[in-house]
């Protein structure tokens, strides 16, 4: 791939992510209706550009709430949970991974065993387990996802730091009397950034699906907050009467995740020359 073709995935993925961010931030301006406002007279209206009762582009749900407005507001939770989890799990995982790789020996042994313990649980299952006991809530949800996700960063960063610490520039910084924590923060961690960015992008896609899955199972945020997963779950009861209630929220999740995966693929092609040669 040459020239601009290399950037197609990044542009398309980035554009989709941008739409998600804009719709989340500007939800009150973009949403035609209040996502919680119930109009029972208008319940289960099919998608239509103009009806006598109002303009419901994506239809209404069983309580007469506008689906488009709920999908626009729903992007907030996906974005918030996705971004917060990726940043917090990334920070924690990278720091712990760098400490393990840099200091080695006993510290590495303990941290590596701990990551093995967390990896013994399938990712979503650990999040389900934590949510089952903590209960619904945005904070709990982010905590559960961070606890389930940090190990991926930790393992990759540990591996990279193991080889980075032997490199000349790190040895030189040490010879010049640099303190360990300074060397980790200033010289080691910044060099792991390309790999971390690629993992973070794919992790965002995985976390958004996980959030939607947990909300679908009733283990996400409280039902009063509109999320794509809970909309799908509610819509299931009206699947044959009002298929739009399951089709559109699912499309929103799918397109968002597809966009982020495209972005991650594009970033990997550019940041990881070995893989991009294969692709």
């Amino acid at each position: 791939m040459r020239g601009w073709q290399r950037y197609v995935k990044i542009i398309v993925g980035g554009a989709i992510l941008l739409v998600l961010v804009v719709s989340g931030v500007a939800a009150p301006l973009l949403a035609p209706y209040d996502p919680r406002e119930q109009r029972l007279a208008n319940r289960l209206q099919p998608p239509s550009l103009t009806t006598e009762r109002g303009r419901y582009i994506l239809g209404t749900d069983n309580l007469g709430r506008d689906l488009l407005s709920r999908i626009i507001y729903g992007s907030r939770i996906s974005l918030l949970v996705g971004a917060a989890t990726v940043v917090l799990a990334g920070l924690f995982g990278c720091i712990v991974g760098a400490i393990a790789g840099y200091f080695g020996e006993m510290v590495d042994e303990v941290i590596s065993k701990t990551t093995e313990i967390f990896l013994a649980f399938p990712f979503l299952l650990l999040a389900i387990a934590i949510m089952a006991f903590l209960g619904q809530g945005v904070f709990n949800l982010i905590l559960a996802l961070v606890l389930s996700r940090w190990v991926q960063y930790c393992r990759v960063v540990r591996g990279e730091v193991l080889s980075l610490r032997e490199r000349e520039f790190v040895q030189a910084a040490r010879a010049l009397g640099g303190k360990d924590l300074y060397i980790i923060a200033r010289h080691v961690l910044p060099n792991t950034l390309p790999s971390v960015m690629v993992i973070a992008t794919f992790a965002m896609a995985i976390v958004i699906i996980a959030e939607a899955s947990l909300s679908f199972l009733g283990l996400g945020v409280p039902p009063s907050v509109p999320t794509w997963g809970s909309m799908l779950s509610e819509g299931r009861s009206y699947m044959y009467r009002a298929p739009w209630l399951t089709i559109f929220p699912g499309m929103a999740i799918f397109i968002t995740v597809l966009g982020i995966n495209l972005l991650g693929d594009g970033l990997r092609d550019i940041l990881d020359p070995k893989l991009s040669r294969q692709g």
């Binding site: 990712f123 799908l232 995966n261």
Partner: protein, 330 residues
Amino acid sequence: MLRRRFIGAIPVLLGVSFIVFFLMHLAPGDPVNLLLGDAATEAEIERTRREWGLDRPLVVQYWEFIRRAVRGDFGMSLRYGVPVSTLIFERLPATLELAFASLFVAIIISLPIGVYSAIKHNSFWDHSGMTLAMIGVSLPNFWLGIMLIFFLGGQLNLLPVAGRIEYGIEIKPITHLYLVDSLLTGNLAALWSALKHLLMPAVTLGTSLAAIVTRIARSSVLEVIRQDYITTARAKGLSEQAVIWKHTLRNAMITIITILGLQLGALLAGSVITETVFSWPGIGGLLIQAISTRDYKLVQGVIFFFAIMYFIVNLIVDLLYMWVDPRIRL
């Protein structure tokens, strides 16, 4: 190496058991209230606290938890009033059948597409294969399941939308895997019904695994195909078929099996959602029921069981390495 693998597993299993044990104490409030619900009387709470040993120090409780877990005793389900392990083993065949079927679906979709994409690198087929994989990996499986139910079950009325077998069809239980049992007993009506019931859940659960394995299969075949020994095989005049089947695929399979093994955990976790969507009577569905009825002993038992199953699967993957790659000796 095998012995080292087992010894190394002990601290990991202890850590896993500690997390599972600790989960109960993660919940806000008294675990006894969680176990009994809000309507419990003071006397009931006190009695349960003593029965479950919750009045003893945490370390003692943890030791007791491990001691019982080693014997397969995860306690009693509050809702069903039977041992948690009985409930798990009753439902295990349904989950296993779904997991194997999904694995089968994933393999028959991913291997041909992935390998062909690599052989025809940068062609139209390669790009189409990779686009399909990208779509597959981005599809939330619960949505895919709901859409399949809507179109294939509801609109076209082609496949049943819930359960494992048609009501009224009896199967003589041998392995409790319906497909196997119906084959063993020659019960074709049951086989057909079980297959129809299994198809949609297996596709739902297998799709994302298929997408991941397609990409891995393609990249590992690409990597192997560029090795010197493949050039040598071609140079000595071997047919392209022999080069691909004997030399390339066998070496590429090492990576593919690793990924399949690692992804089996995701398959187990995914079964929780797929079983809920299709009312599949397996362990995943049992977990969600247990969470919604606050049957915490059952939740704890199922989570522990899943983690151990995942661990065993990873061990089996390690053993498979030896079979595929004789260079790795155990």
